[in-house]
């Protein structure tokens, strides 16, 4: 058992190190995230009342799009240099190795994204309870995006065209968006948000248990 935990952290550390050595790869989606958020005030004008209503939704939708972009790289280099093949041949379960990679992706993408959203929320002077709800939903939602995204990335890896990836990810992640926005809306008008949070947490647990298995199966199919 401890051996498994060990290998999990080895893969995690390896991926984090790779991400920090190749900064552009993980900074670019975050830059995209910031730029798209900036686009909206430019498009809708600086009418702050309207923007305040839209901001949390904009942040969430942009997070979805940025996730699709950032996920493209999650297995690509490993697939190209044959590391994934070595993973499948190793005596450790592929599910475990894949989970470590997904966690690494979330740490390098999801965590900074939450921090940036917190910051954006303050800058755009959202009410405090909205910012809290935004951060909670992002904290529960972005791991789900990484997990579900990993399945579809594994399915489409090596195929041409990133559009296919977004076509597959976005419908599957719509429930997360809906529950998050419900929670944020309720928080803004001062209603309790625990029901939506529980639902999001439930989706997260479900995704955590099933998504790595599906991802591993998808990778095996792509390699066969």
């Amino acid at each position: 058992m401890s051996e498994y935990i060990n290998i999990f952290f080895i893969i995690l550390r390896r991926d984090l190190m790779l991400a920090f050595r190749n900064k552009a790869e993980f900074v670019n989606p975050l830059m995209f995230f910031i730029i798209v958020i900036v686009l909206f005030p430019l498009a809708f004008g600086s009418d702050s009342a309207l923007l305040k209503q839209l901001t949390s939704g904009i942040i969430w939708v942009t997070a979805l799009l940025a996730t699709t972009l950032s996920l493209e790289t999650i297995f690509r280099s490993d697939f190209e240099d044959g590391s994934i093949e070595q993973f499948t041949l190793s005596r450790y379960p592929l599910t475990l190795l894949v989970s470590a990679k997904i966690l690494a992706h979330w740490i390098t993408f999801g965590l900074p994204l939450i921090a940036i959203s917190l910051f954006t929320g303050f800058i755009l002077s959202l009410p405090n309870q909205t910012i809290v709800a935004l951060c909670i939903t992002l904290a529960l939602g972005t791991p789900v995006l990484s997990l579900i995204g990993a399945i579809t990335v594994a399915l489409t890896i090596g195929l041409r065209g990133g559009m296919l990836l977004s076509l597959l990810i976005l419908p599957l992640t719509m429930p997360v968006l809906i529950f998050s926005m419900l929670a944020i809306q309720n928080a803004t008008i001062g209603q309790p948000i625990s029901a939506e949070i529980y639902f999001l947490a439930g989706i997260l647990v479900l995704a955590m248990t099933l998504a790595p298995i599906a991802t591993a199966a998808a990778l095996r199919i792509r390699l066969s």
Binding site: L155, L167, L210, A214
Partner: protein, 251 residues
């Protein structure tokens, strides 16, 4: 994993090719009969609704196609799963052939729902829970079809598609409840309440005929697709060449 021998025989493409012609024809005949009965009952015999007038009659297309859209997705995912686990070629073909039919049913449900919504709700489209989940279902179908067409190897495509369909089927209840909470304008279910349906019998019977007609229509068209897919899959085997009268080496 263990499978009984007759099931293997049933799954053999050549055997199924011969059998499916018969099933497909009978399903088609039953479909036409039920369709005529259902349409006559629904459009002529059934009384006009006391609230919705005659416009409720689009229900006889809308409700069966909405049911079929989910049913076909289930078939697609289950057949895909069977293909994934037992590597049965026929199951893969069934899953693959179901996708365009299911997408068409979903599209039909959306279009008829929209046409029904115009006189009832005053707009073509509302962001109602069931409409939205049906729309997401259409996206799932289109994603599946897009994924299928991205691969060159059919076997790999079928297995990749199976995983996507299975992920989708886990997601469908979540999508359903999420949009249910999100907003709802659609009328509540009237038939699933088995103890006492709130739909009148004279309206229900034609609906059941139509549901049966749609089911048999699905079976019939599915088998036609499956048969042509089998021929494509197996185009290099001797029985297909014999069937098509192609001599070895000469097309």
């Amino acid at each position: 994993m263990y499978l009984p021998k007759w099931l293997h025989q049933f799954g053999a493409p050549k055997y199924f090719y011969d059998l499916s012609l018969c099933i497909s024809r009978w399903a088609g005949i039953i479909c036409i009969i039920c369709f005529i009965c259902g349409l006559y009952g629904g459009l002529v015999l059934a009384p006009a609704d006391y609230q919705q007038g005659d416009s409720f009659r689009i229900m006889y297309i809308h409700v069966p196609s909405a049911w079929m859209s989910l049913f076909v997705y289930m078939v697609m995912a289950i057949a895909g799963g069977i293909g994934l686990i037992w590597r049965i070629k026929l199951a893969e073909i069934v899953a693959r052939s179901s996708a365009p039919i299911g997408a068409s049913f979903t599209f039909l449900a959306l279009v008829t729902g929209s046409i029904w919504g115009k006189p009832m709700w005053g707009t073509w489209w509302v962001w109602d829970a069931r409409l939205t989940s049906e729309l997401i279902l259409l996206f799932l179908y289109l994603g599946y079809i897009a994924l299928q067409s991205a691969f060159e190897d059919r076997r790999v495509a079928a297995r990749a598609g199976a995983i996507l369909a299975l992920v989708g089927i886990v997601n469908i209840p979540i999508i359903h409840y999420s949009v249910e909470w999100w907003s709802t304008l659609h009328q509540g279910p009237t038939i699933t309440k088995l103890d006492k349906p709130s739909i009148h019998l004279s309206m229900l019977i034609p609906l059941l005929f139509m549901v049966f007609a749609f089911k048999t229509f699905y079976i019939s068209t599915l088998l036609i697709r499956v048969r042509s897919e089998i021929l494509e899959y197996e185009c290099n085997t001797s029985w297909v060449k014999q069937l098509l009268g192609i001599n070895n080496g000469i097309k």
